[in-house]
């Protein structure tokens, strides 16, 4: 059964097989990643390696666990292998007749996925840590080994983690790994050492033997010849004549016939064709293929690459949630846990039934949170969140409450207000936050979305809130 003639397929590449929904992702597919979450299994049609590489990394790097934990396989017309891509996929088949063989592994992954405790966190780092832990855990891997990968900016990729970063920010994986280790979720041991560009931290370096004076690699090499008889020493060109290949000493005019008896070659000399410098030892420089900076070897950034093992605490976090996340939320002064926000909304609806006033729940979502976090860095992230909360807090009444749904989304109540004022508050607030972020993070264009829920008394509070946040999960 070839892929093309497979009668299981409809035009869209989706099909059901043995109780599971599959989707074959072709290069010309029009589906969005969000739409792909509907399927239980994704098959990437990997006829083009670039497409396969890009797609698997994109899917595994997606923020939604429904996607990054999903069983994803390559459907390849030929057998070519890439260790990293194979590791972050769940396997490869060469035609759909091999689907049967996949079913046990699909079911095992789906079963294990269902055991993973998914909760939202305000911390970008926590989100990534949980992603890495849960991905490897659901694939039966307790060890998280770095895998050499040519297209990686740091030369190695960590399954479940590296895909979340773009090429230029890939070195941030080390911060995440260090943080996870400091939290006791993983333990490390030595794997290798590698070097990165001192200017841009990139690992794609090529080593060049260059002139120590002008760094040109354009040079010629000549042997130095020592004539024993008279002690003359000079480059071999001193001894050559224009008539034949014989060597004659320029000092005593004797013929040099026998190496080791008449003469030897104690060293060699290089002449730079660019600056005419004469030297014996090339300087080795490492040119960065990313920023083109010519690094001196001794100033390269040396980095120890570690392999990691998920600890018992790490496993516990995967299965029962990461305690530190709740703690982190509680530590943000001026906010409440989302569960509490739910309850308060319920009480507000009850209150509305008696006082006949209008209340609202507003939602603000920063679409490019990851970009922002990358720009401000981990150390300033919490400060920025505090500033945002402070700004929101100053714009709403003291009895209104704020809660984080996730790192990029937070909700707040606007109670006992008319709709026009509530809308104006949200609009002004989004402008204010935009200004705040632009002021603090130059060259960053914040993309805020806001949404607005008019609370009603006849519908269950949970349904109302779910309707509000469903598009921002």
């Amino acid at each position: 059964m070839s892929i093309q003639n497979d009668n299981l397929l409809n035009n869209e590449g989706e099909f059901q097989y043995k109780g599971h929904s599959f989707y074959i992702l072709y290069p010309n597919s029009t589906k969005t990643i969000e739409q792909l979450t509907e399927y239980e299994v994704i098959l990437i049609f990997a006829s083009h390696p670039e497409f396969a590489s890009f797609t698997i990394r994109k899917l595994r790097g997606y923020k939604d666990p429904q996607m990054y934990l999903k069983p994803i396989y390559f459907l390849k017309p030929s057998n070519d292998s890439n260790n990293y891509l194979n590791t972050i996929s769940d396997g490869t088949i060469y035609n759909l007749s091999q689907l049967d063989a996949l079913i046990p592994s699909i079911e095992e992954i789906l079963t294990t996925n269902s055991k993973v405790y998914i909760n939202n966190t305000i911390s970008y780092e926590s989100e990534l840590i949980m992603k890495m832990l849960s991905f490897n855990f659901t694939r039966g891997r307790k060890q998280i080994n770095p895998i050499p990968y040519m297209l990686s900016a740091i030369n190695f990729c960590y399954p479940g983690l590296s895909s979340s970063f773009g090429y230029t920010e890939e070195n941030k994986v080390f911060e995440i790994l260090d943080l996870a280790e400091s939290e006791g979720l993983i333990s490390s041991s030595f794997y290798d050492k590698t070097h990165y560009c001192s200017k841009c931290n990139n690992g794609a370096l090529y080593y060049r033997s260059v002139c120590p004076k002008c760094s040109s690699s354009n040079s010629e090499t000549e042997d130095i010849v020592h004539h024993f008889r008279c002690g003359y020493v000079g480059p071999i060109s001193d001894y050559k004549n224009e008539i034949d290949d014989s060597l004659f000493c320029p000092k005593c005019n004797k013929n040099l016939r026998h190496i080791g008896v008449d003469y030897d070659k104690p060293s060699a000399l290089h002449t730079c064709n660019s600056c005419s410098n004469k030297f014996q030892d090339f300087e080795v420089k490492a040119k960065c293929m990313n920023c083109e900076y010519d690094n001196e070897i001794e100033y390269l950034i040396e980095k120890e690459i570690k392999k990691y093992t998920i600890t018992n605490k790490g496993e516990s976090a995967i299965l029962y949630g990461y305690v530190a996340m709740q703690k982190e939320i509680e530590e943000i002064i001026g906010t409440v846990k989302f569960e509490l926000f739910n309850k308060m909304t319920k009480f507000e609806i009850e209150r509305m039934k008696y006082s006949k006033h209008q209340s609202f729940v507003a939602l603000l979502n920063l679409k490019n949170t990851n970009e922002l976090i990358t720009k401000v860095g981990r150390s300033h992230q919490r400060e920025l969140i505090k500033d945002i909360i402070m700004t929101v807090r100053n714009s709403i009444k003291p009895f209104d409450i704020i809660s984080f749904r996730s790192l990029s989304t937070f909700v707040f109540s606007i109670n006992e207000e008319n709709e026009e004022t509530a809308l104006k508050t949200v609009y002004e607030l989004s402008n204010l936050l935009n200004f705040l972020i632009t002021d603090n993070v130059p060259d960053f264009d914040a993309k805020f979305e806001f949404d607005f829920l008019v609370l009603n008394t006849h519908e269950h509070y949970k349904k109302q809130l779910d309707r509000l946040i469903q598009n921002y999960e």
Binding site: H226, F228, G234, P235, C252, D264, S267, Q280, D281, E283
Partner: protein, 436 residues
């Protein structure tokens, strides 16, 4: 003891002038006339003429400053890494700075390559050239010469340090006379306090280098530019294609330059300090090597200086003649003197010995104190050495002389300099076959 003293006084009293001359002819005719009277006269003359020629020196200095010549300082050596940094520091302090430093590592088996490369990378030396296979000091110096770009080439030993004006002081004499092809620097012992052996050598260097070279230079017979500190016209070195195989290559090179018709000068004020061998064993080894070179180079390789052919040069003839006379013939003559005394004055031999010691000691005190007046640059107080002067007679008269006789004997009959591990066998073999 008292009896001996009484007899000794009686011996002295009994001496007539004729008898005194008969018993101490060696001291009177060879040592006193050459090394005290002649040297004193020359030093005095030199001082006067220097004063009279002060304008010439000023003009030479002006020409030097105007010309601002580029110099190549070459430092060949093996396992000299630990000395390089101190040497470079000493050169960094120089008042004259228009020079390049070329270090050639002759197959070192220590950290020299690492240190040299580091210095090169830091820009403290222009070239660090390493020969993986040792070729001998001459080959290392020649390789450095091949890359030298300077108008003048200064050859240094890596274990030396220099007065901060030493480089300009050694170059200025070239501007006194265009015929000057090489200038020797003054060398003194840095570690003179380390042992009695080094103290003796410090006194020796004051005499044989600081003083004797002023004299020989004045007489036009200066013949050995020390490898520790010597400056050469690049064109002169190029003409003779650099150094020939050693040991003794410094003196050999000087004679070769003389043969080209160049004059050789000594720059007493261009001061270099070096570490002298600190044990008798090391010193003996060094001196055997040095002393053999008189036979090998003066009497064997450059014997044609004595030939009355068209390239005959009188000052070269005198230079070598004096060297062979005082370095070789009189050494033998001294043996004759001892034999003469032993057989003809056996009953008075102990008095003759003591008298000789007294004569030499008095002469040495006189020389050391009076000649110090002619030394413009001293690296140690004269008073430090006064207590050691009585030992000088034994050092010069017996130890050095014995070593010299032994070295000459070995070289004349066995050509042992060609077996000296100081030079690799592969090159010494050729030198021996070709009487080089």
């Amino acid at each position: 003891m008292f009896e001996f003293i009484e007899e000794f006084i009686a011996f002295i009293r009994s001496l007539t002038v004729e008898h005194f001359v008969r018993l101490f002819w060696f001291f009177i005719f060879f040592e006193m006339i050459r090394y005290i009277i002649l040297e004193f006269v020359i030093l005095l003359t030199n001082t006067i003429t220097n004063k009279l020629k002060a304008k010439d020196f000023t003009e030479a200095e002006r020409l030097f400053r105007f010309d601002n010549p580029f110099l190549s300082i070459i430092v060949p050596g093996k396992n000299e890494g630990e000395n390089l940094f101190k040497l470079i520091n000493s050169l960094k302090e120089q008042t004259y700075t228009n020079f390049e430093i070329i270090v050639v590592d002759d197959g070192s088996d220590d950290e020299t390559p690492t240190i040299g490369r580091k210095l090169e990378k830091l820009g403290l030396i222009k070239h660090f050239i390493r020969n993986e296979i040792r070729g001998g000091k001459a080959s290392a110096a020649n390789l450095a010469l091949r890359f030298a770009k300077g108008k003048y080439v200064i050859h240094l030993d890596a274990d030396c340090s220099f007065d901060n004006d030493a480089i300009e002081k050694i170059i200025i004499p070239f501007y006194l006379d265009d015929r000057i092809g090489a200038v020797g620097g003054n060398v003194a012992v840095r570690n003179y306090k380390e042992s009695l052996v080094t103290t003796m050598q410090a006194i020796e260097y004051y005499d044989t280098i600081s003083i004797s070279r002023i004299v020989s230079s004045k007489l036009g017979i200066y013949r050995v530019i020390s490898g520790a500190f010597g400056a050469f016209k690049k064109e002169a070195l190029d003409s003779i294609k650099g150094w020939d195989i050693g040991p003794g290559l410094d003196g050999d090179l000087t004679v070769k330059i003389r043969k080209l018709g160049y004059k050789i000068e000594f720059a007493a004020e261009a001061m270099c300090l070096t570490n002298a061998p600190n044990t008798l064993k090391k010193l003996t080894k060094q001196r055997l090597r040095w002393d053999k070179s008189l036979v090998r180079f003066r009497m064997r390789k450059h014997k044609n200086i004595f030939y009355p052919n068209k390239s005959f040069n009188f000052s070269n003839f005198i230079s070598l003649f004096e060297n062979i006379t005082y370095g070789f013939v009189l050494n033998i003559k001294w043996v004759f003197y001892v034999v003469d005394m032993w057989f003809n004055n056996a009953s008075q031999i102990e008095f003759i010995f003591v008298t000789n010691v007294i004569l030499y000691t008095v002469a040495n005190y006189f020389k050391f104190i009076v000649f110090s007046l002619f030394r413009t640059r001293k690296n140690a107080p004269i008073s430090y050495f006064l207590i050691y002067i009585p030992a000088v007679v034994f050092y010069f008269g017996y130890y050095l002389r014995s070593v010299r006789i032994f070295a000459h004997f070995q070289e004349i009959f066995f050509k042992t300099s060609y077996n000296d591990p100081w030079n690799p066998k592969k090159t010494s073999r050729f030198a021996k076959d070709n009487n080089m």
